[in-house]
């Protein structure tokens, strides 16, 4: 054995504790094992969501009924939305890479409350099971859209209660993860790890955790109210009893708009790790990125009304929300500027994570700029609830968070599994996926501008061409996805052993063996005056 300590000789993947086999995983309080549990469960849900999305695209291949009727289509986009939002992108980066990497990046042995961390995962699984119950049993699959808008959400005859309760439980899981990370970042930094030396991924997790904590309870109580409305007829959002359905929208978006930032902030953090690593250069404007992260978290909390421009809000509120929406675009733009400036005059090492990161910047910018079209009052009236909106948020949520997720996956993969993936196939997978993505969503911008509404299983003949291209794109994208998954799964088992620091990165997780030992560090790391996360010079 090359190490003196028996436990550190085994890594976290092979180590056997009190329980054997599967039990040793699902009852493990090791943050890295929990991270992998999240990875596998989220990947499963993502694949499910992709299949539903594929089915919708197939339906839209031709006008009229192709493979499903209107009711089935409504149920499909509802379940697709619930799965992708609540089970994939909201927990996505924080629960997977936050759990896997956050404690190592700040030089800690684990998160502050390891048992609570395990509870979060169990709550996640419970929430997933509840939603699946709504799907398979009872009086029909929910058909309200993932937003559960009142008053339809308590009038619909479908089996909504388990879905609502499931979303509530998933929210609770998200809150506990956020709480855990906040305490971890406050209390468990290793000596010398000042706030000004935290890696940017950690900073973005910090901002994200605050949003998780402060926004999720609001949607929690709102969903409880809808459930009470359905069961008891309390009357809180029912216009027949004096309630105001627009108030439901306010409360719903007070959470669900910040939820967009829960998705995108850690994505930005991962990109902020990858760009300097592959440019071998100090990140440009470290403090500006931190400031813009916190600004996005804060301002993003106060712009929810831009989802409701056509719902009958007062003019004053509309001006206010439109103004703040434009303001929140500024810190995002600052980040893009910083990433590009980091690459400038760097010695760029083009590898798979870098391809993903650069394509992230591209799709994120397209998504962000099309968001301004929606943030402006006059144009929003025109494109509201059209395919344009669908294109916009898929560019942000799928293009932003999804691309960053794959970037992070290819970046940390050698650390997580201790093996390197086949780089050629990884690049091919990226290229196919990227082309598929562009073909799938870009036509929707055009279709929306031409007036094609979202959430219909049917469309006018004039929209046929764009829809064919979009459906073809979905097939290309899925092909790319399969290539990526097969390559990663294969490499996790049979890839060449990875070095400790294959990308020559400077953050702490690259100082420990790949895969990391159970307690992360042989002895607690100490950061000196000159150490820092991006000191490449």
């Amino acid at each position: 054995m090359h190490t003196t300590n028996a436990v550190n000789g085994a890594n976290y993947l092979t180590y056997q504790g009190k329980y054997k086999g599967l039990l040793g995983w699902i009852f493990s309080t090791d943050h890295k094992r929990i991270g992998l549990l999240y990875l596998y469960s989220i990947a499963t849900m993502f694949a499910t969501g992709v299949l539903l999305g594929l089915a919708m695209k197939f339906e839209l291949l031709a006008p009229g009924k192709t493979i499903m009727d209107a009711q089935t289509y409504n149920a499909t986009f509802t379940v697709h939305g619930v799965i992708m939002i609540f089970m994939v992108v909201v927990p996505g980066l924080p629960a997977v890479f936050g759990n896997l990497m956050l404690p190592i990046m700040i030089g800690a042995k684990d998160v502050a409350f390891p048992k609570l961390n395990l509870l979060s995962w169990w709550l996640y699984v419970t929430g997933v099971v509840l939603v699946l119950c709504a799907l398979l049993f009872g009086s029909g699959t929910p058909d309200t859209g993932w937003t559960f808008y009142a008053p339809y959400s308590f009038k619909s005859g479908t089996n909504l209660l388990p879905a609502i309760f499931g979303a509530f439980v998933l929210g609770f899981s998200s809150i506990l993860t956020g709480l855990n990370f906040l305490v971890t970042i406050h209390r468990l930094r290793c000596p010398g790890m000042k706030w000004s030396k935290l890696p940017l991924f950690v900073w973005t997790l910090y901002g994200t955790a605050w949003i998780q904590l402060l926004a999720t309870p609001v949607v929690g109580i709102t969903l409880v109210l809808v459930a009470l409305e359905r069961v008891f007829g309390v009357g809180i959002f029912d216009p027949a009893l004096g309630g105001d359905p627009v108030l439901y929208q306010h409360l719903f978006w007070i959470y669900s708009h910040p939820a967009v930032y829960i998705m995108i902030l850690p994505a930005m953090g991962a990109i902020s790790e990858i760009i300097p690593t592959f440019s071998q250069k100090h990140i440009f404007g470290y403090k500006a990125i931190i400031a813009s992260t916190m600004a996005i978290a804060f301002v993003g909390y106060l712009v929810w009304g831009h989802h409701m421009f056509t719902a009958g809000m007062s003019g004053t509120a509309q001006y206010y929300f439109s103004l703040l929406t434009f303001i929140v675009a500024i810190p995002s733009a600052i980040k893009v500027f910083n990433w590009i400036s980091t690459m400038y005059k760097g010695s760029i090492n083009i590898q798979t994570p870098f391809y993903w990161a650069v394509s992230f910047i591209f799709v994120f910018m397209v998504g962000g700029l099309s968001g301004l079209v929606l943030g402006a009052l006059a144009t929003d009236i025109y494109v509201h609830d059209t395919a344009f909106v669908v294109a916009h948020f898929h560019y942000i949520v799928f293009g932003g968070t999804g691309f960053a997720f794959f970037a992070a996956m290819h970046y940390w993969f050698p650390k997580i599994f201790g093996r390197m993936y086949d780089k050629a196939w990884a690049n091919i997978g990226w290229l196919v996926f990227f082309i598929g993505f562009l073909a799938l969503y870009s036509p929707m911008f055009y279709l929306g501008m031409m007036g094609m509404p979202r959430r219909y299983y049917d469309y006018l003949e004039e929209f046929h061409g764009g829809n064919i291209l979009s459906t073809l794109g979905s097939w290309v994208l899925v092909t790319g996805f399969i290539i990526i998954v097969v390559n990663l799964v294969r490499s996790a088992r049979k890839g060449a052993p990875a070095e400790v620091n294959p990308w020559h990165s400077k953050t702490l997780e690259w100082t420990v063996p790949s895969p990391p030992p159970v307690l992360n560090f042989d002895k607690e790391p100490v950061l000196g005056e000159k150490d820092g996360p991006y000191n490449y010079e």
């Binding site: 504790g17 305490v183 209390r187 009470l228 009357g235």
Partner: protein, 212 residues
């Protein structure tokens, strides 16, 4: 070798990470989420009150200020007793600490009993969410008022019950010595949670009972 791993296991899966400050911040962060949970309801309340001022005025007359005030007083007293229990624990007076938590527990039960009778009276008058009486005889504003009344005081009562359960664990911990002057976090956090329950009631009481 196997033995060795077994031995190490205890350190690996459950490293003793007791840190009173971590527990405290953790509890505070949880309290924030609770505040915003009720915060959502307060937003609903304030909007509907703004839209139906007269109906809310009228409906609030139906509530018994005396019972509300009585519950406020006992809840404030209970907040004091649980705060005192942490002082007692720090001073090493284990029995006093337990006695104070038990008193708090009893007061909490008393609060729930009052609430039970208060709701009971409303039910006997035919007022409950979705009841015939409400739908036929009340204005929309009154329906909203009582809907919110039942939801908000009900959710608050649920928190009282959770608080009582935590107190049960705290009493057990202090009794068997696991919670002591050096490791007071469970009792401290139990106290913080109970004060949160108190804090929410401080706002619920005037908004439902006094505004008439």
């Amino acid at each position: 070798m196997n033995n060795m791993a077994e031995h190490q296991h205890a350190h690996v899966e459950h490293p003793d990470m007791y840190d009173p400050e971590s527990s405290k911040i953790g509890m505070w962060l949880f309290i924030f989420t609770e505040l915003l949970l009720f915060g959502g309801l307060f937003i609903v309340y304030s909007v509907y009150r703004y839209m139906n001022p007269d109906a809310f005025h009228l409906a609030a007359e139906e509530l018994n200020t005396f019972i509300g005030a009585f519950n406020t007083v006992i809840l404030l007293v209970s907040s004091m007793t649980i705060a005192m229990s942490t002082t007692a624990l720090q001073k090493g007076h284990k029995k006093v600490a337990i006695a104070l938590v038990v008193i708090t527990f009893i007061i909490g039960i008393g609060f729930l009993v009052n609430k039970y009778f208060e709701w009971g009276i409303k039910f006997s008058h035919g007022i409950w969410p979705g009841s015939e009486q409400m739908l036929n005889e009340m204005s929309q504003g009154e329906i909203l008022f009582f809907g919110l009344y039942f939801v908000m005081t009900g959710l608050h009562a649920l928190h009282i019950i959770v608080g009582l359960i935590i107190m049960g664990f705290a009493i057990k911990g202090v009794a068997n010595g696991k919670v002591n002057a050096k490791r007071p976090s469970l009792l401290d956090n139990c106290g913080l949670y109970w004060h949160l329950v108190d804090l929410i009631w401080i706002f619920l009481f005037p908004l439902f009972y006094l505004i008439h």
